[in-house]
């Protein structure tokens, strides 16, 4: 069974530029999560989807971050414009609805110069 796929794995951009991350969850997983992980910290939830509906986006900085999950499968997280403080690892995870265990992708390491 294929795991959660994320791309790109690494991204280096200059500040004020836009950037997008893509996630393909495990087949059949209705719930999809985007997490932010800063260096030396644990992952922090940005947004959670149940199918195509964002059910928890309270931690998403909506002035510059946006996300979508069209058709309830793949998801894209976008930052526009990026700031220096956005440098981090962006993790995508998926799970069956109301399941306890979440499966994580390898993450995208973003560096903003």
């Amino acid at each position: 069974e294929a795991g959660v796929v994320q791309s790109p794995r690494y991204k280096i951009i200059e500040k004020k530029q836009p950037v997008a991350f893509w996630c393909n969850p495990i087949s059949g997983h209705n719930t999809l999560y985007w997490y932010l992980q800063n260096l030396g910290q644990g992952p922090e939830l940005l947004i959670r989807y149940e199918n195509e509906e964002a059910v928890d986006d309270s931690q998403l900085p909506k002035d510059r971050f946006s996300a979508e999950r069209l058709k309830g499968v793949d998801s894209t997280l976008k930052i526009q414009p990026a700031e220096l403080g956005d440098s981090a690892v962006y993790l995508c995870a998926s799970s069956l609805t109301r399941a306890n265990e979440q499966f994580f992708g390898p993450g995208t390491r973003l560096t903003v110069l």
Partner: protein, 115 residues
């Protein structure tokens, strides 16, 4: 407000010995606790979990203990192996129906198992 805390940033043990990783939490609304393991350049991988109605769960070399009165849980690895060297994250799930599935993670503890 750090609701889940792993106060030891790192731990070093000898191969074959026991590794004990600790985690403290403050929110009484957590109903499920999980441990994740993370290797460099990979995402966290689920290791073991425990419901708040239990005090122990065992899976092979891994055992998680939960002390609800102390709001403390620990992960025991016996015997420790060099391949166990990784960052371990404690995570807790909020039981509120509106937040079903939301995990709060600790900062992580880096375990090094020396051959």
């Amino acid at each position: 407000d750090q609701q889940v805390k792993q106060n030891s940033p790192s731990l070093s043990v000898q191969e074959g010995r026991i590794s004990i990783l600790n985690c403290d939490y403050t929110n009484s609304m957590f109903d499920y606790f999980l441990w994740y393991k993370k290797y460099p350049a990979e995402g966290p991988t689920f290791l073991i979990s425990i419901s708040s109605i239990k005090d122990k769960n065992e899976d092979g070399r891994f055992t998680v203990f939960l002390n609800k009165s102390a709001k403390h849980l620990s992960l025991h690895i016996v015997p420790s192996q060099p391949g166990d060297s990784a960052v371990y994250f404690c995570a807790a799930r909020i039981s509120s129906s509106s937040n079903t599935g939301k995990l709060i993670f600790g900062q992580g503890t880096t375990l090094q198992v020396k051959p």
